[in-house]
């Protein structure tokens, strides 16, 4: 496609957009000459250029439209519903051809349809002769320069580049200001530089902004068409059109907004008869409103329709299995309303081609989430529904928390941030609980795995003990799990510009990008889900045998009883259901099969687990007694050598934060995290010569599998 055609297409599309806006406004202000002149100009321009480029279909259509419009403009004809519809049809036809040119580089076929439309337009003009002097004598306003003359089209990539360069300029300015502080001769110039740079920065930012009117302008048409096909009477009120938003953001919210408006018309605003019966105005009101609100743009779609019936939502949610019947009454109205954003949820009784297929609100939310925005819904039954989108001003800048560890700063996007917990130096030791080598923090009754940022990044720290510093736990939402990132300092929230990392650094997998702070420092942006993924690898390495246990212990209830024992000074819990007997035995009676300590227990061979090393020191002393807790797991038995038995206590299951999965290998007893004995860790017990010894071996026991390689 040559440049001329491309320019023509862009210009024509813009012209048609203006025409669309004009036509829908025309219904409200049919006498507005300026409006008519504007529409006329759009069609006129298309006609002029098409003749030149040789697009005959376009030319014929535009010519027919121009005739009609010139009569309207000159007041020889008064716009009515039929004319408006014809003009809209004309516009659609022109658009279709333009699209065809765009894709196939020709006008396509459809002369028959064109002829029908041209005839229709011609017919509309004929009665005009009768009331030609209806608004006859005013002077036509033409030859006014089109308002787009003072604009230039700029490539977005260029704007991005300008943004980068201005960013650099800001940093250089900061350095100059610092360097010239004491030099009075340079002071004035550097102040001036300061002001100019700030102004330039602002201008470049605003160059990327577009008023929301460019987005809102499509709605009068949509509302008009929909209200006709749905038999609704709707008045659209648009407020805050001049509010500006980053171009990319406007593109991103186009679909969600359209969907919301469709929903409002289909499910919100009632048919006129029903409204009348309810004592409302027959004409429903749909309000589109945009405004600034503390660094955000808020866009509201409000209708004065039926609202959402919370009871229906409750019933539907139970029906769809989103909540269960016991849960339902406990949910607040607000919480129930949020369910409409759930995938596959729709309260519409019948499926229309406008909406109600149950895909919609979840898509709206996903799209808004993607650009870092939030959706809120408010509804009063019988009064109407308001959907509120809260959007960041631009996509390029995201809010992030700057944290520091070992004098290095890192950024964490606010979107993955849940909470910040400060642990003062005197509490550091007691707050962090260890199970094997996994640090845990009890947070709101749940077990939060901790990750020490300095250790994860292998940062060198002067020999230290954690107890001598305050620390902060940044609670992160990483996909389905929560985790706590331990850092030294919180340096505050910043708006950051995300810059990509080179492939060699992004392949490390922990950083999602890098940013430059106002003082010129480069700060790596941490990817919270990558941190969780990395941490899981370590967790699994440490608790592999415990994971083994999950299968067996999955059925346990929320609360189960444990036998709390002391093994060489360490408190350990043994599930009471596994405990068979507690025995006092002579150390002498312990025998060895290879390296494995065993006990002849009622004529059965019992392997002994001695985690605390309680046997070793006193071997040989005949009169030493020891306590052995005999446990059964499935068909196998094991004896745990313990220092002493403390008590039986109920333990609460700890849950993996962010999931309903039971934490393995730990329980909560008297408010302390206690590790649970690992029944799966019992070593496979066998060595060939001994196993043949029938006097020890009792075949009624099912021992763990004998590994052949050991024989």
């Amino acid at each position: 496609m040559d440049e001329l055609t491309r320019d023509f297409l862009i210009e024509s599309h813009e012209g048609l957009d203006r025409m669309e806006r004009g036509i829908t406004e025309l219904e409200q202000r049919p006498q507005d000459r300026e409006l008519l002149a504007e529409i006329f100009r759009a069609v006129h321009t298309i006609k002029g250029t098409t003749g030149f480029l040789g697009f005959s279909r376009l030319e014929k259509l535009a010519h027919a439209g121009e005739n009609l419009l010139s009569q309207l403009r000159d007041g020889k004809l008064v716009p009515n519903r039929a004319i408006t519809t014809a003009l809209l049809q004309l516009m659609d036809a022109l658009r279709a051809i333009l699209r065809c040119i765009e894709i196939e580089n020709n006008e396509g076929v459809g002369e028959g349809e064109d002829a029908r439309l041209i005839t229709l337009i011609a017919e509309l003009q004929s009665p005009a002769k009768g009331d030609a002097n209806a608004a006859g004598d005013s002077v036509a306003t033409d030859a006014r320069p089109a308002f787009h003359d003072n604009t230039v089209r700029v490539d977005i990539a260029l704007l991005d580049r300008m943004m980068d360069l201005v960013g650099e300029l800001l940093l250089t300015r900061n350095q100059i200001l610092l360097a010239t502080e004491s030099d009075s001769s340079l002071m004035i110039s550097s102040r001036r530089l300061d002001i100019l740079t700030a102004d330039l920065h602002e201008s470049v930012i605003s160059a990327r902004m577009q008023p929301v009117s460019s987005l809102f302008s499509r709605f009068p048409r949509i509302v008009r068409d929909l209200s006709q096909s749905l038999n609704r009477k709707v008045r659209l009120i648009i407020e805050g059109q001049e509010t500006e938003l980053d171009r990319c953001m406007l593109d991103a919210i186009k679909e969600p907004l359209t969907h919301t408006v469709r929903n409002s018309l289909d499910h919100g605003i009632e048919p006129p008869e029903l409204r009348f019966a309810l004592g409302k105005e027959k004409e429903g009101i749909l309000t589109l409103c945009a405004r600034h609100e503390s660094n955000h743009i808020v866009i509201e779609v409000a209708d004065d329709g039926a609202g959402i019936c919370v009871e229906k939502v409750r019933i539907k949610a139970i029906e769809r299995g989103l909540i269960n019947a016991e849960q339902a009454p406990q949910l607040s109205e607000d919480e129930l309303l949020q369910l409409v954003f759930h995938p596959g949820f729709s309260t519409a009784e019948k499926v229309t081609n406008i909406s109600g297929r149950g895909v919609g609100m979840d898509v709206v939310r996903t799209n808004i989430d993607k650009v870092g925005g939030k959706v809120q819904i408010e509804s009063r039954p019988g009064k109407g529904t308001t959907l509120r989108f809260r959007l960041p001003l631009t996509l390029a800048v995201i809010p992030a928390l700057i944290v520091r560890t070992v004098q290095q700063s890192f950024a964490i996007p606010q979107a993955s941030l849940l909470e910040l917990v400060h642990i003062s130096r005197q509490h550091v030791v007691s707050a962090v609980e260890w199970i094997d080598d996994i640090p845990l923090y009890r947070f709101r009754g749940k077990l939060l795995p901790l990750i020490f940022l300095d250790r994860m990044l292998s940062l060198y720290r002067e020999p230290y003990s954690h107890s001598s510093y305050d620390c902060f736990v940044v609670v992160l939402n990483a996909g389905e799990r929560h985790l706590g990132l331990v850092v030294d300092e919180i340096a505050g929230l910043h708006e950051i510009v995300v810059k990509p990392l080179s492939p060699v650094l992004s392949s490390i997998g922990l950083y999602s990008g890098v940013t430059i702070l106002g003082n010129g420092t480069l700060v790596l942006i941490l990817d919270s889900s990558a941190i969780a993924a990395r941490a899981r690898i370590r967790r699994n390495a440490g608790t592999e045998s415990m994971e083994h246990m999950t299968g067996a212990s999955e059925t346990v209830d929320q609360i189960m009883d444990f036998l709390l024992v002391d093994i060489a000074g360490r408190k350990t819990a043994i599930p009471l259901s596994n405990v068979v007997r507690i025995e006092q035995i002579r150390l002498l009676s312990i025998e060895y099969l290879g390296p494995q300590a065993v006990l002849n227990f009622d004529g059965k061979l019992l392997p002994i687990e001695d985690a605390g090393g309680l046997i070793a020191p006193e071997v040989g002393d005949q009169n030493i007694f020891r306590t052995v807790v005999v446990c059964a797991q499935a068909d196998s038995y094991v004896g745990f050598m313990v220092s002493r038995v403390l008590k039986i206590a109920p333990g609460c299951d700890l849950f993996q934060p962010g999931s309903d999965q039971c934490a393995v290998g730990a329980t909560l007893i008297d408010g302390r995290v206690v590790s649970v004995v690992d029944m799966g860790r019992i070593p496979p017990f066998a060595s060939a010569p001994e196993s043949r010894d029938e006097t020890i071996m009792d075949h009624s026991f099912a021992w763990p599998q004998v590994s052949r390689s050991m024989a």
């Binding site: 580049r161 990392l501 790596l524």
Partner: protein, 183 residues
């Protein structure tokens, strides 16, 4: 100090850097090269590979990055990954600021951190001697390093009176390529 190079024009003369026309034989095509020092040794790169020389940089280290990465450097609104030639040559890091050569590769721009830029010189292609492909640079006797696995890091040498100027192979310096080499 910052030299901006416009590929179309000649290298700008800036304070501290002189272009020395210094061809031994006077024959052959003349090539502009930039020489720089790392741990007392002098190396060079053809000027056409260098986009810009940036002085006084302090790279921001990146934890868990490959050993040859010095860190990140802010450069013209973007963030450059800087390689440390010292680390590549298995020489200890030194304190203080360094100079950065901004180079281009197929994966985008990157920086090469050197101790200091010495000179911009014009040499003749007739004085060039390629280093055999299978050599790892040890024979030059200037460096003895275990990390000289990067075959072809050294492209060749130019005779400069008494001394040899060793040129580096820009393609081999591509960070992604290095990452594969040391994977």
């Amino acid at each position: 100090m910052s030299i901006q190079r416009n590929p179309a024009s000649d290298v700008e003369r800036t304070s501290g850097i002189n272009i020395t026309r210094n061809s031994e034989s006077g024959k052959g095509e003349s090539i502009e090269i930039c020489s720089f020092t790392v741990a007392g040794s002098v190396f060079a790169l053809p000027i056409r590979h260098i986009v810009e020389i940036v002085g006084k940089v302090h790279p921001q280290p990146v934890p868990l990055s490959p050993f040859f990465i010095a860190g990140l450097v802010y450069y013209r609104g973007n963030v450059l990954t800087a390689l440390s030639l010292r680390r590549l040559l298995d020489v200890k890091d030194c304190e203080g600021s360094h100079e950065l050569l901004v180079l281009e590769c197929i994966h985008g721009s990157f920086g090469l951190l050197v101790d200091s830029v010495e000179d911009l010189l014009v040499v003749s292609s007739a004085d060039y001697e390629a280093i055999p492909g299978n050599s790892d640079g040890r024979f030059l006797g200037i460096l003895d390093t275990q990390r000289m696995r990067i075959r072809g890091l050294f492209a060749g040498s130019y005779k400069q009176g008494e001394r040899l100027l060793i040129t580096l192979n820009t393609d081999e310096l591509d960070p992604m390529r290095l990452a594969e080499t040391f994977a």
